[in-house]
């Protein structure tokens, strides 16, 4: 049912867990559908994602796509991260069963949500700093 790659990422998830000092966090999905993904990123001053972590409630494909997505955005700029498509995640995992494609969509959305959150925080911070000045 699952490719070797998916099973590998499920058994040995990369970047699993909350990271320290994250400045972007996104959570997508809901328990009703059986999948919740939480993504943490720490973006440095150059706009590069220095560190990333995830937590996932969901099926094997949900875990594997989260794990793969974190790998694919780590060390990339936030702009590049926003370009991450679910299709790219599926390809990197050497395919997913048709009924599991929605998991990769969720992973894409989680990344976007984390980046959005980072942008929001930056804007807030900037506004706060401007206020201070």
């Amino acid at each position: 049912m699952y490719s070797e790659k998916v099973l590998d990422h499920f058994q040995n998830p990369r970047n699993m867990g909350e990271i320290e000092n994250y400045n972007g966090m996104g959570m997508v999905g809901n328990a009703k559908c059986g999948d919740i993904m939480q993504m943490f990123i720490r973006v440095n001053d150059e706009g590069i994602i220095e560190d990333v972590g995830f937590k996932t409630f969901g099926c094997g494909a949900a875990v594997a796509t989260s794990s793969m997505a974190t790998e694919m955005i780590k060390g990339k700029s936030v702009e590049e991260a926003l370009q991450l498509s679910n299709a790219a995640v599926v390809e990197a995992l050497e395919g997913l069963p048709p009924v599991k494609i929605h998991c990769s969509v969720l992973a894409e959305e989680a990344v976007k949500a984390a980046v959005d959150d980072y942008h929001k925080r930056m804007a807030e911070k900037k506004a706060a700093e401007e206020n201070k000045e």
């Binding site: 699952y2 099973l7 499920f10 058994q11 998830p13 699993m16 867990g17 959570m27 328990a31 009703k32 559908c33 059986g34 999948d35 919740i36 993904m37 939480q38 937590k55 996932t56 409630f57 969901g58 099926c59 094997g60 494909a61 949900a62 875990v63 069963p97 009924v99 599991k100």
Partner: protein, 386 residues
């Protein structure tokens, strides 16, 4: 890798003794039972013998047994058959919210065709009561269809009492006994059952063979029209080896049933008692006592069923889940939801179903592996803050 099969509610291993009985009918004896010549009559005799074996197992008469391709076909035949045949009398059917899809989807199809179906709710244990059935019966009720035992949570319904009520009220009573036949003692006469569905592969018989018991005097239109097989009640060349295997399997399953069940219940109860000690925040699904001897079903909070299954599988343990993710749909098990579980908890269920061949060793292995799996997945879960 050690492999432990705990998905016997999904299907069982065909046991060698049954296969042996089938072998002649997959080699020399290949005639069509409808053919009057030597080759055909050899097959016919085997089919007759199996029919008697199946009848004996549930205290029916041989000519009350209609062989077909499985439990789903039996459910469809019974329900659709009664609906078509008795449409003039009424168009109301009573069933439960926790039936197998073979019953539920058939009922939903009938609803689209002008029938009215009452889906009785269940309590937190997945149980319906006789009183619920009594209150639901109307003058235009033509059928009550209630499963003997639930395939997901193992809850055993009060079948003899419901049967008696139906007969008092003059309403036909069908029971989907796919999970019960070969597992619980059944007497269709004493239990006032008019129609009963069964499936051979659920009691160590072959896949692709089942039967519908239809009490003498009840005439249903066939679901499959064609030749005169099964006394015009189900067309199609008989699956002779399958039928022979079903006969042998049911006979074996019903031999020393009590003893086998006692053994299985001890192992079942070991899981039921030990797992909560080793995994915090888990919940047994289904009835604590009125429960199939082979069924264990737990919800493990904060984690999701398919990933539990997958990790068990990677450790050699085959189990099942009420999670939507195993089926590709989005909603989790309709059974668990009907029992009042939240989506989140329902998604995190694991079903382990034992068989006669399950060993103490197998159970101990599960007791060792499952807690580790739960811990590992909980660490990954955004819902868990342990």
């Amino acid at each position: 890798m050690k492999r432990v099969y705990l998905d016997n509610a999904a299907t069982t291993r065909l046991i060698p003794e049954v296969l042996n009985e089938m072998m002649p009918y997959m080699t020399e004896v290949y005639g069509n039972p409808s053919s009057p010549h030597y080759f055909g009559q050899q097959s016919q005799m085997a089919v007759d013998r199996a029919r008697q074996q199946v009848a004996d197992a549930i205290n029916a008469e041989a000519n009350e047994i209609i062989f077909m391709s499985g439990g789903s076909e039996a459910d469809n035949t019974a329900i659709r058959g009664v609906a078509e045949r008795y449409a003039k009398k009424g168009r109301h059917i009573i069933t439960t919210a926790v039936e197998h899809h073979a019953v539920l989807h058939t009922c939903q199809m009938l609803e689209k065709n002008g029938y009215e179906v009452t889906y009785l709710p269940v309590d937190e244990y997945g149980m319906v009561t006789v009183d619920q059935v009594r209150e639901a019966i109307r003058p235009d009720t033509i059928l009550v269809s209630i499963m003997f035992a639930n395939n997901e949570v193992g809850t055993i319904m009060p079948i003899p009492e419901i049967g008696e009520l139906c007969h008092e009220k003059g309403v036909l009573f069908h029971t989907d006994a796919v999970q019960a036949v070969g597992h619980l003692p059944i007497d269709v006469k004493a239990m006032h059952i008019d129609m009963l569905s069964m499936s051979a592969h659920k009691f160590h018989g072959p896949k692709g063979t089942g039967a519908l018991y239809v009490r003498k005097g009840i005439v249903l239109p066939p679901l499959i029209y064609g030749g005169a097989q099964e006394r015009n009640r189900r067309a199609g060349t008989e699956n002779v080896p399958g039928i022979v295997g079903m006969g042998k399997a049911i006979e074996l399953a019903c031999t020393d049933l009590d003893e086998k069940n006692r053994r299985m219940m001890r192992l079942r109860d070991k899981l039921i008692e030990e797992l909560p000690k080793r995994i915090p925040e888990i919940k047994l699904n289904g009835h604590p006592t009125k429960r199939l001897p082979n069924n264990v079903n737990f919800s493990i909070k904060y984690i999701e069923g398919e990933s539990i299954l997958l990790m068990l599988d990677l450790n050699g343990i085959a189990a099942s889940s009420g999670s939507a993710c195993t089926s590709g749909s989005l909603d989790p098990s309709h059974v668990l939801l009907a029992m009042g579980l939240t989506h989140e908890i329902a998604h995190g269920s694991v079903r382990m179903t034992l068989c006669d061949e399950t060993s103490e060793d197998d159970i101990d292995y599960v007791l060792e592996v499952l807690p580790k799996v739960a811990e590992r997945l909980r660490k990954m879960s955004p819902l868990y803050h342990g």
